[in-house]
């Protein structure tokens, strides 16, 4: 292999930044902390760009480089080895590009917060793990990144650790993710058992000869389903989605980077990466599609009734991730990745803009206390509007193309997916424009004059820890922006810059995948083609007989017959109409007739309460799992088995542990030294005897 890209440097750059800021950052000025973090993150982005520029001249794709053996046991070994192919290129650009933008934004957003160095250290650490996840060339290295982003997520959700809700949310995220990881691990064990390796290339080569497990389910189905359990945890799908809304306790840039643009899409990436396995497990594929469809719908209904601006976006993220899994489930992996990319742009932007709004109104997150902001923060408003157009599927914007492709492919699999998908698209458009109208239109409903600081400042003035208190900015610290103390104010350019870039991407980002029916040729799908098509040959024959509704050879739309275009256009028209209907309804309810929502809520009281309370799923989990577990552990295991049965038996049944202890205490009370002495003397005697015998 002549070429050497040194891929391993890409993740190590942000790790170095994390280490420097983590170990020394306490003594650094804010400017230096930001410089270090941006330099290393930016360097990773630059290097990623260079790698991509070399990509077309690579002789072998996927390009793999092995750095060292990580662990070996018998014949089984795992290496630190990194790989790049078309799929990783997309992920790499999204992660480093969007990640870098959010780093820049964070400098402005976090400037006045305590723990500035801690924040950037964690953020860089996240980049390290995420890049490891994306560039790994085997499942175990991917698992390092997988668990590592979970750690970074835990640390950043609980960044304001003095707030109990933030600490609890961090822990919840970690534990729920661990439940998913349990499935992931079992899947890895199955792979080891059947293939003796966790290397992508080796596993997929071993899987390719297998036929589809059409009748019943074999071990490939088991592996696929277990991987999906892992994906459900990381990507917040039913039934493990509950951690993501709580994760909004983290600072808003974290929500944008980790809980919208990158980490939560890792599950989609993993499923797409494992498509060779999934394609041979049709029943697992169906499960993926159904989970994705249900989650998309279910989360969107909750999003409609939320009043916290970040919570709306959180449920929206869950819902959009559902679309991506729907795509994977119907075999449209490249469509799923396409939506993953456009979603990273527009959802990252939505969160950053929401952060800018929150910043502007002094930490308020309740949309009922906003309104009329568009004149005061025009840049934020305009960029956020672009993202809203994108997510609502307004033709021409990025989300339109990716969502449309998913819906079209879903229809080809089953009309049921399509109907739910279109209804969800309508709800998406509705709750997003509801958000926009409540926030930006009408009159300002908040209390003026109290606006300084972020949401994190509200209601917990003493959260600054010692490490953080030390670096609270001095009154004369050169802030990069004049932080207004009176009224609503636009954010500084260090924050608006990333918004503008992402707004542009939210518009043009979809143009790489314009489908044939609209006169394009879907370059994106063609680009990913080699990854997703490479597995098809073995399945082809199978398909011809089985008559599967999703023939993998149709992965590239370019190959579809032209006659399908008119049908496809009609369906596109329907989903566009659904988007505009949502816009209209939101305008009607939240701008034209603002008293209507309350009346509707009253008339549909039960339904509204259920939705507003998120269907009480958290409460249900607590009642069914958490409380019984703690109760049984305490009463049955600890007090019962341990203290009563085992100790009781050993101490002579009725005597019990307490009495023994008393007895011993009486015997030994005041006699400690003599007791110790006896033991020592006894030991000495044994020793003396042995020496004597030995020398005899």
């Amino acid at each position: 292999m002549t070429e050497n890209l040194h891929l391993w440097i890409i993740p190590l750059l942000p790790l170095a930044g994390a280490a420097i800021n983590g170990l020394l950052g306490k003594r650094f000025s804010r400017g230096l902390v930001a410089t270090v973090a941006l330099t290393f993150c930016g360097a990773a982005f630059a290097m990623a760009l260079w790698v991509v520029s070399q990509f077309s001249s690579l002789s072998t794709i996927p390009y793999v480089e092995t750095v060292a053996t990580w662990l070996r046991s018998g014949d089984f070994s795992v290496s630190y080895s990194f790989a790049i192919d078309q799929l990783s290129v997309v992920m790499l650009m999204v992660v480093t590009g969007v990640g870098f933008l959010i780093h820049i934004y964070s400098v402005g957003y976090m400037w006045e917060e305590g723990g500035f160095y801690r924040f950037f250290s964690y953020l860089n650490l996240f980049m390290f793990f995420m890049l490891t996840l994306v560039l790994a060339s085997n499942y175990l290295l991917m698992f390092i990144g997988w668990e590592g982003v979970g750690l970074a997520s835990y640390l950043l959700i609980g960044f304001f650790f003095t707030r109990d809700s933030a600490a609890a949310a961090g822990k919840k995220a970690f534990i729920v993710n661990r439940i998913g990881d349990f499935g992931f691990l079992i899947a890895l064990f199955l792979m080891i058992q059947h293939f003796g390796s966790l290397d992508f290339a080796k596993v997929f080569d071993a899987v390719r000869p297998y036929a589809q497990e059409t009748s019943g389910a074999g071990f490939l189905t088991a592996i696929a389903l277990l991987l999906m359990v892992g994906a459900c945890g990381k990507s917040a799908q039913i039934p493990l989605y509950v951690w993501l809304p709580d994760a909004m306790e983290g600072p808003t840039p974290v929500s944008a980077l980790i809980h919208a643009a990158t980490m939560v899409t890792a599950g989609v990436y993993m499923v797409a990466r494992s498509h060779v396995i999934f394609e041979r497990a049709p029943s697992a594929m169906m499960v993926v599609a159904i989970i994705g469809t249900l989650t998309a719908f279910f989360a969107a209904t909750i999003g409609i009734a939320q009043t916290d601006i970040k919570k709306v976006l959180a449920y929206s993220t869950v819902s959009q991730l559902g679309y991506m899994f729907m795509a994977c489930g119907v075999g449209a992996f490249s469509a799923g990745i396409f939506h993953l990319m456009t979603h990273a742009f527009f959802k990252g932007l939505l969160f950053l803009a929401a952060g800018s709004v929150i910043h502007a109104v002094g930490g308020e997150q309740d949309m009922r206390k906003m309104g009329g902001l568009w004149k005061k923060i025009p840049w934020t408003w305009f960029t956020m509007l672009m993202a809203t157009f994108a997510i609502a599927g307004i033709p021409g914007w990025a989300g339109f193309f990716s969502k449309d492709e998913i819906l079209w492919r879903a229809y080809q699999a089953s009309w049921a997916y399509w109907i739910v998908g279109v209804v969800t698209a309508f709800m998406t458009s509705f709750y997003m424009f509801r958000l926009m109208f409540m926030t930006f239109a009408g009159e300002y409903r908040g209390a003026a004059g109290s606006s300084h600081g972020h949401e994190e400042h509200a209601g917990h003035g003493t959260h600054l820890g010692r490490d953080t208190a030390g670096e609270a900015p001095a009154p004369h610290a050169p802030a990069p922006h004049g932080h207004g103390h009176g009224g609503v104010h636009e954010s500084p350019w260090v924050m608006l810059g990333p918004l503008v870039v992402l707004a542009v991407l939210s518009i043009v980002g979809g143009w790489v995948g314009i489908p044939g029916s609209l006169g394009g040729s879907n370059h994106f799908d063609k680009f990913l083609g080699p990854v997703f098509r490479s597995s098809t040959p073995a399945v082809n024959a199978e398909h011809a007989q089985a008559g599967e509704s999703v023939p993998p050879e149709q992965t590239t739309e370019g190959e579809e017959p032209k006659t399908g275009h008119s049908t496809e256009l009609m369906f596109t028209g329907i989903s566009v109409a659904a988007g505009f209907l949502g816009l209209f309804l939101a305008w009607l309810l939240y701008s034209a007739k603002p008293d209507l929502p309350d009346r509707i809520a009253d008339s549909l009281h039960a339904l509204y309460t259920a939705v507003a309370n998120k269907y009480w799923v958290d409460e249900m989990y607590a009642t069914i799992f958490v409380k019984p577990l703690i109760g049984i552990s305490t009463l049955v295991f600890w007090r019962g088995v341990d203290q009563t049965v085992i100790d009781g038996t050993l101490n002579g049944g009725a005597a019990g542990a307490r009495e023994l202890s008393d007895e011993v205490r009486h015997m030994q009370s005041g006699n400690l030294r003599s007791y110790a002495g006896w033991v020592a003397i006894g030991a000495a005697c044994v020793l003396a005897y042995m020496v004597w015998v030995g020398t005899r």
């Binding site: 089984f76 609980g158 003095t162 349990f182 079992i186 199955l190 080891i192 033991v679």
Partner: protein
């Protein structure tokens, strides 16, 4: 073989005890005694580094052997030797002891001399357990660990220290009797206490009545080891011992003493009775699984931080036993790796708990809360150690758990599945504890003035943290010594490898047959 290679095990084993003897003669000058103990334990650590530095990693058998007749009747040899299984346990012991000295620097302020004498003697006894290859010698060291440990708990512990010390002493002492009976039976039949000789005779089928007795022999050894591990349901001495023990006692108890049990299973239960071990693997694996889940669930609801860590040890050691009795390469490698990783991580946890106890004089979790504010450095060290214990990849806990579970999965699928729930439980109990101790608002004013870590405490913690990271990032440094030794345990037919050292063992065998002949 040069002089150093031949005597290194004796040197390493007895340097601490020699230091202890010197301390007995020393005047009661606490400051100097502390420095001296630190120096001695550090020298022992440096000396022990000779072992991995000159260890032949591709040799599966015993190395650095020393075998001289000690007592002719009964036929006891001073037979020391070490392979890839025991090597890292030796280094783990010498690694942890200086940290124990550092962590006891100010917390022990009465009878300082006695404390450090006991600590150093304990270290020697622990080291002896891992390198003794004569069963009598092994049993001597085995019991010798009890005395200083019981005294450390009984003299320097907290509230119910005497109860805990007696419980610990009686529990493990009584269990050891079964092993002693087994050892004596073997001696009666073969005239030898030598492990290598016995192993060869057993493999060649040269011991009369062995077939009928082997189950009881296996069981006798197993009970002694299972109590030490401790394996469910023999575990109830452990939480009491830990809660009452002084910090250094807890560190060595969890870090090294428990591994005597799992080491014993690996060396003697699998080494001497491989068929019985395989035949009984079923129910032992089930006990290990119960330990994993049960230990974790009980840990979750403990109101006392030290008890929580103690129960977490039961859970972690369950993984070790599961790995051993999975009889797979991965399982045994993982079991060895967890022994080391758990020593570092749980040793670290107990040091951290002790640091807090010095400041607040309690282990009750509800007494804390919000400590990350006054003690940020402490919180960070604690987090790294907790994550290592939780099994986060790139820290040391993950490697062992992954290998053990994949091995268990190969052995019996449901073992792997039930065991893997452990990754969920450990996150539950440790992160919940972490949240209650460190996050939220500081509730009592007194805690705002809690001092953060001082230089001495950081010096004690840094090595543990660095080791946790190093073992997670580059596990091959440890595994490549363990792997061949483990392979050897799994395929006992290759007996020529086992007595690689040659002359010594053969001489012993000749002597043994002579004794039997008499």
């Amino acid at each position: 073989m040069n002089w150093l290679d031949q005597n290194i095990l004796t040197l390493v084993t007895f340097i601490p005890a020699a230091g202890g003897v010197l301390l007995m003669l020393a005047p009661r000058r606490d400051r100097e005694i502390r420095w001296f103990a630190l120096l001695v334990s550090f020298i022992a650590f440096i000396a022990s580094l000779h072992l991995p530095a000159h260890f032949h990693r591709d040799h599966a058998g015993f190395q650095f052997e020393q075998n001289v007749p000690w007592i002719s009747s009964p036929n006891i040899h001073y037979h020391m030797g070490m392979d890839g299984i025991s090597m890292w346990l030796v280094v783990l012991t010498t690694f942890l002891t200086p940290l124990c000295v550092l962590i006891s620097w100010t917390s022990i302020h009465e009878r300082v001399k006695e404390f450090f004498i006991l600590l150093l003697v304990l270290e020697s006894a622990l080291l002896g357990v891992f390198v003794a290859l004569d069963l009598f010698l092994f049993y001597f060291f085995w019991e010798a660990t009890l005395i200083p440990m019981a005294l450390l708990i009984g003299m320097f512990g907290h509230g119910r220290r005497v109860y805990a010390a007696v419980k610990f002493f009686l529990y493990t002492m009584i269990a050891s009797v079964f092993m002693l009976a087994g050892i004596l039976w073997l001696y009666a039949k073969t005239g030898s206490f030598d492990f290598v000789v016995l192993q060869n005779q057993i493999h060649s089928g040269g011991i009369p009545d062995f077939a009928g007795a082997s189950f009881w022999l296996f069981l006798g050894f197993f009970i002694a080891f299972a109590v030490k591990v401790p394996l469910f349901p023999f575990h109830t001495w452990l939480p009491d011992a830990h809660v009452e023990a002084p910090t250094a006692g807890s560190v060595l108890l969890a870090g090294v003493l428990l591994k005597m049990g799992t080491y014993g299973m690996l060396r003697f239960n699998l080494g001497l009775f491989p068929e019985q071990a395989r035949a009984n693997a079923g129910w032992i694996g089930v006990l290990a699984l119960i330990g994993i889940v049960y230990g974790a669930l009980v840990a979750m609801v403990q109101p006392n931080m030290k008890k929580l860590i103690a129960y977490s040890s039961i859970s972690h050691l369950g993984f070790v036993v599961l790995g051993i009795f999975s009889f797979t390469q991965a399982g045994l490698n993982g079991a060895m790796f967890i022994m080391l990783a758990h020593g570092v991580a749980t040793g670290g946890l107990f040091m951290l708990a002790g640091i807090l106890y010095e400041r607040r004089h309690t282990y009750e979790i509800s007494e804390f809360g919000g400590l990350a504010t006054p003690m940020p450095a402490y919180a960070r060290f604690f987090l790294v150690v907790v994550l290592a214990s939780v099994g986060l990849p790139l820290l040391n806990g993950f490697i062992g758990e992954f290998l053990v579970l994949s091995g268990a999965f190969q052995a019996k699928m449901w073992w792997g599945i039930v065991g893997a729930t452990g990754v969920i439980w450990s996150a539950c109990y440790l992160l919940w504890m972490y949240q209650r101790v460190f996050f939220g608002q500081v509730k009592h004013d007194v805690k705002n003035s809690l001092p953060d870590l001082n230089l001495r405490e950081k010096t004690a913690l840094w090595p543990a943290v660095v080791m946790a990271l190093a073992m997670g990032v580059a596990p091959m440094l440890w595994l490549n010594g363990i792997d061949p030794a483990v392979k050897n345990v799994l395929s006992p037919s290759t007996e020529k490898n086992i007595s690689l050292a040659g002359e010594g063992a053969r001489a012993t065998q000749a002597l043994a047959s002579k004794v039997v002949g008499q």
